[in-house]
Each structure stands twice: as C-alpha cells, then as structure tokens.
C-alpha cells in the first residue's frame, strides 16, 4: 500500500518537475497549436525539456496560466493582448509591452512576421489580369462580384465600414463562409473576405489584397513569456523573429487542414526548411500512439487519484469504524465535497495549485473519497460480530483483527466502493482537459470546440473502454483476493 503511494507521488513529482524545463502553452485552435509546436520543437532542439500544456482553452485561461506561473510561454496576438487582455485597444505595441512588464512581469518577443486579421482575397488570374493587389484597386473595378460571409456583413470592421473607408461601389452578396472559397473557385464571385492566414488562401492559390488604407486592426503574432525566462532561451526565441510571414502561415494552416499533416510535422517542416533547426528524425505519433498516450495520461490521472483516495479513505474509514461518533460528521464532509460541481471544483483549485495534472488529480481524489469511505465503514461494520469476538478472544490486537479478519471479510464491499469510485473517476477525468491536464478529455474538449463528433468519439470511446477495462481488472482482483464462497 505504502509502496503504491510512493509511486503516485513519484509520478506527481516527475510530472511537475523542474530543471532545464520550459512549459509551453497553446491557444485552442489550429494556428495556436502550430505556433506553440514551433516554439516547443525549437526549444527542444536547443536542449530544453519542454512540457506541452496545450488545450488551454481561450485567451484568458492561457494568460492566467502564464501569469500564475503554470506555463512559461505561449504565442499570442498583439491586438488580442491590447484589446482583450488589457482592455486598452488604443495601446501601441511598446506601450503594451511596458504595461505587461510592469504589471505582470511578462514580456513579448519580436513579432513572427504575420498579421492575422480580416482581409479580402481574389483569384490570382483576376489579380494578374486587372493588376489588383490592394483593396483600393477594387475601386476602379466596380464590375467585380463581391461575396462576403454574413458575419463580415454584420461586423463593424466588416463590409459596411470597409466600403465606406475605401469608397467601394460594389454591392456584395451574403453567403455562408464555408461556401465562399468554393464560390470563388467556380467563378461565381470574384472577391471574398478571409482571415489573412487562412489555409485556403494557400490551397486555392489566392491573392490577399493589401489593406493599403490600414482599415483592419493589427493582430501580429509573437511569443508572450514570463520575465524569468533565461537569456539563453530568449535568444533562442529570437530565431523566430520575422521568420513566419503571411504566406508561410497560410501554407502551414493548409497543411494541417487539407493535407492531414499533424501539428508536429508541420512545425518541424517549417523549422527545418527555414534552416532554424537541422533535419532530424521526427518521431511522428500516429493517431493510435497519440490515443495511447492520451489513454496513458488518463490512466495516470485516474489511478493516481484512485490510489490517493484509497490510501486516504482506508485509514480514515478504519478510524471512523473505530470511532463511530466522529464518523458521522466526517462522512458528511465527504458528502459535501461531492456536491461541488466538478467544473466549479476544478476552477476553484486553479489559484491554489495552478493548472495541469495536480488540480485534476485533487479533484478526482475528492470525488473518489466518498464511495470508498462509506463502503469501507459500512463493510467493516457489517462483519459478523461473532467472528470479531473470536478474533479478539484468540488474542488479536485491533490491527491484527483488522488485517486478518475484518478487512478480508469486508473486502467485497470495499472493492465495490473502489469500483464505483474508479468508474466515476474515469468519467470525471474527461473534464480534466478543461484545465490542461490532458487525457482523453482533450479529444472531447477539442471535439466540442470544433464541433467534430469524430474527435469527441475518439475520446469518448476509449474512455468507455477504459471503464470496461477497469471493471475487468477489478473482477480479476476480486477473483484473486476473495475466495469464491465468500464472493457467493
């Protein structure tokens, strides 16, 4: 039992360990993953050990995580820092940096070289034929058919104001954003709106028109990191300065979206092509190995928490059994813990223990306590009193009675409690992804975000199978531990 506890603690220490270790966060969308992976591989190439805390949800979770020293670095956009995080959109880049440093001891690197904002795109042939390269060039071509997404029609940095600023005479048609590129391709429209780093720009070979009147706000990507980051690491990061232009970002986004390349692969190709790192064998995890590694994390989460809960609930359960008067209030507290909704509990823990596995394990641990505790107490209580008397009369001490008689006879009930806890844990652990603890929940969270039922199932099915496996393991343990006639 003790030995199991040590193993758990060891895992915890290892998974939160220190040294030449840098923790890289990522925002929760394709481009965020790609950029984070570029940073990670660059750092790894320079000899750092990188802990990837991807899947950190939105801007605020990333920023909180950085602020609270749960990660060391993540890629962010200048406009987002000013407008969304600092709520002061008027700030210049250098003002932003000053503010970040003074208030949070955070710094940014130089921009990577691309600007992720709205833009208008046009087919290469038309661009060439009519020599259109900037938005203002559209003015002299009123015959061009412009079709923009409903969202762009509605937005205030959208069509209405854009056309006013550039005095564009066109009357655009609204269409679904998803259909715009196809429409362009089939020459149903000539111009549409897009994000400047959309992979489709690269895929369909489109030209992004220059915003020559500076209408669209700037969202320049850069590394945002904690000031404690050593000078060597900072120097390493400068290698990315100005290295990723719009076109490269587009083609990386395309590679992920349309060429089924993994984030790892895309990042690696970029770094090698740019000569930033030398080509190396990239251990590319297949879906299978990725699922397996997520299962491993999931198991680690579930079982560390379960083991902790067992190590806790056993002695407490015994103590409660010996001291029935205290037992009631303690069981009540364990019950109260259970009434805190899991997401709330996870959120509550962030300020105390940051993000990652630790708060997840604590949450799971707390949820596992009640079933084990209650069944341990009830199980011990329901052992035949005659046998308890015999054990005492024979000369067993309290502990020996527990070890040789009460525990073995209460074991079916205790195991039943552990099984309930284990299965609840496997389920609740899927929520742990919300705070970057990894595991199968990552698929589910990502799937919910991208509305991809394939991804959701990629997480849900192994989780369900895991529950099955847990059941089977316990069945075997039961067979091994409990003589058949006691099991019935």
């Amino acid at each position: 039992m003790k030995c199991l506890l040590y193993i758990t603690l060891f895992f915890l220490v290892v998974s939160t360990g220190y040294g030449q270790r840098i923790r890289v966060g990522a925002k929760h969308f394709n481009e965020g993953y790609i950029l984070s992976e570029i940073i990670s591989q660059l750092l790894e190439h320079e000899g750092y050990t990188v802990t990837r805390s991807y899947n950190l949800g939105g801007t605020l979770v990333c920023f909180e995580a950085l602020k609270n020293n749960a990660i060391d670095i993540y890629p962010e956009y200048s406009g987002t820092i000013a407008a969304e995080i600092l709520k002061q959109p008027q700030l210049t880049f250098s003002e932003t940096n000053l503010f970040l440093f003074n208030n949070f001891k955070l710094e940014t690197a130089e921009p990577y070289g691309f600007n992720n904002t709205y833009t208008l795109v046009i087919k290469k042939e038309i661009s060439a034929a009519l020599t259109i390269t900037a938005i203002s060039d559209l003015r002299k071509n009123p015959e061009l058919k412009i079709g923009v997404s409903y969202e762009f029609l509605k937005r205030q940095d959208g069509w209405e104001n854009l056309s006013k600023r550039y005095a564009l005479p066109h009357l655009p048609t609204g269409l679904e954003h998803g259909l715009a590129y196809e429409a362009l391709n089939q020459n149903k429209i000539d111009v549409t709106d897009a994000y400047s780093t959309d992979g489709e720009i690269s895929k369909y070979g489109l030209i992004a028109l220059k915003d020559d009147m500076g209408f669209f706000p700037k969202y320049e990507a850069t590394s945002l990191f904690r000031s404690e980051l050593g000078t060597h690491a900072r120097n390493v990061l400068t290698k990315l300065n100005g290295k990723i232009d719009q076109v490269k970002m587009q083609s990386m986004n395309k590679a992920v979206l349309y060429e089924k390349k993994s984030f790892k692969q895309v990042a690696n190709n970029f770094l090698v092509n740019e000569g930033i790192i030398v080509a190396n064998e990239l251990k590319e995890p297949s879906i299978l190995s990725d699922v397996l590694s997520k299962i491993a994390t999931h198991l680690l989460l579930t079982f560390s928490a379960l083991l902790l809960a067992i190590c806790f609930a056993f002695p407490i359960g015994v103590w409660l059994y010996w001291q029935p008067l205290i037992s009631t209030p303690i069981l009540y507290v364990a019950g109260l813990l259970q009434t805190i909704p899991s997401i709330a509990l996870l959120a509550i823990l962030i300020p105390f223990v940051g993000i990652g596995m630790l708060p997840a394990i604590i949450t799971l641990f707390l949820y596992a306590l009640l079933p084990i505790l209650r069944n341990t107490v009830s199980g011990l209580q329901s052992v035949d009193p005659l046998l308890k008397n015999v054990a005492e009369g024979i000369g067993m001490s309290r502990f020996q009675k527990l070890k040789f008689v009460e525990f073995p006879l209460a074991m079916p009930m205790i195991l039943s409690g552990i099984r309930i806890a284990a299965v609840i844990n496997v389920g609740t652990a899927t929520l742990a992804a919300f705070i970057g603890a990894g595991g199968l929940g990552e698929y589910i969270v990502t799937g919910l975000a991208l509305n991809s039922s394939e991804l959701i199932l990629r997480g849900a099915i192994p989780a369900a199978l895991l529950a099955l496996v847990v059941e089977i393991i316990f069945n075997l343990l039961e067979k091994y531990w409990i003589p058949k006639h006691i099991r019935n």
Partner: protein
C-alpha cells in the same frame, strides 16, 4: 503461574444484574469442569476470564496478576479459548484457521509440524487442511476449533462445550489425548460441559452454577459423592 480467579464479580446484561458477588478461584494446572443448566452463566464465566466481557463490578486475576484490559491481546495469546459454536473464519482455509495465532505472533514455531501433531490429536485427516470451513461437517469444524485453541500450547485453556458435536468414539479418543497432554505438561483448563461422564473422566474439580450462583465447587469425587443440593444431584443423575 497459570492461575485464574474471579473476585467479587457482579455483572448485568441489558439492565438487570445477572451475576452478583461471584468469586471463584480455579485450581492451577488442574481441569475444572463447569456444569450448569442452560443459561446459568457458564459461557459468561469463560468470557470474563478471557476478557471478552468486562464485568460491571469486580476484578479478575489471571497468570498471577489482575487482568489488564489494555494489554489483553498479549494475555489472550497465552490463553487458548474455544468459543461455544466453532467460530472458524470463513475466508481462511482450515490450515490457516488452525495456525492463525502463528501469523499473529510471527512465532518461530514449525507450523507444519505443529498442525500435523494437532490434527492427529483430534483425528482429522490432513486432506481437510486446504478446505474451507463451510466444506466441513459440524464435528470436523469443532475439532478444527480445538486445534486452533491449542496451537500456541497455552497454559490456560478455556473450552466451551468443545466436544458437543462429536460422536462418542472420537470424543473419548480426544478426551484421552487431552488427559495425556495434561500429564506431560499440566495446564489450567476450564471445561464447560453438559456431560457428567466427561466431567467425571476428565475433571479434577467441578464447579456447578445455577442462575449465576455457585452451587458447589469441589473436587470431582466430592461433587459426585456429596452433591450439595437437589439441583447438583439432578444434574449428575440425569446424565451419568
């Protein structure tokens, strides 16, 4: 010192006093048979000595010193106790049941050999060792219980109707074995029985109680020859 003594014991079960001012000294290294009608308090006396029941009033002396309820388990290990009903542990094999005290004391006894000795003493085949209690007949379970009580060779032995479920042949054989043991190394034995012939054959002393009161406590001969009252007489008559 394998003495056992109850001094001025009073005890109540659920409200009203059941035993009052009860004192008895059991002869050291002798077999005392405890005789009495059903519900007269025989098992209760053994429980007092073993410490399973703490009397409401009064004190108990064993091994020459007052029974210390905080160090009971050490005392009990020197005191074999076979409860009424067998009380074998259902989750342990017969072998483990018999040698459980060896695991408790982590003793250096050669368990296998000791088990073999005890089995032959109670006439049980070794084939039963790997079985669980539920697979044994009533008499077989009872004999396993005897083995368990004897395992550590205790110098005080409390036996609550130990042979009640045995056929007369086996019963006699085991009675003789116990007497043989007693000749080799005498111990203080308290033997609750309903069989006067068993008492006559085995006991040095007989304690007759009724309703929690001593009727007679004397050597076996004396009790058999001079029963102190009608009840004792009846008990002897009806089973001799």
């Amino acid at each position: 010192m394998s003495t056992a003594e109850l001094i001025n014991i009073s005890h109540q079960y659920g409200g009203q006093f059941y035993i009052k001012n009860f004192s008895v000294t059991f002869q050291e290294k002798k077999i005392t048979a405890i005789i009495g009608r059903s519900g007269s308090g025989k098992s209760t006396i053994l429980k007092f000595v073993n410490g399973l029941v703490k009397p409401t009033i009064g004190s108990i002396t064993v091994f020459g010193s007052p029974l210390n309820y905080s160090t009971l388990s050490a005392t009990r290990l020197r005191m074999g106790y076979m409860l009424q009903g067998t009380g074998l542990f259902p989750h342990l094999t017969i072998e483990d049941n018999i040698s459980i005290t060896n695991r408790i004391t982590k003793g250096d006894i050669n368990a296998a050999q000791r088990i073999e000795e005890l089995l032959s003493l109670v006439r049980l085949p070794t084939a039963l060792l790997k079985k669980y209690p539920y697979q044994l007949s009533g008499g077989e379970q009872q004999r396993a219980g005897i083995c368990r009580a004897l395992f550590l060779n205790p110098s005080i032995l409390l036996m609550d109707e130990p042979f009640g479920a045995l056929d007369p042949i086996t019963r006699q054989e085991i009675q003789l074995e116990i007497l043989k043991l007693q000749q080799v190394a005498a111990r203080t034995i308290l033997l609750v029985t309903h069989d006067m012939r068993e008492a006559k054959k085995m006991a040095d002393y007989i304690l007759v109680i009724d309703n929690g009161e001593i009727q007679q406590h004397a050597s076996t001969d004396e009790v058999l020859k001079k029963p102190s009252n009608k009840l004792v007489e009846q008990l002897i008559e009806s089973s001799l």
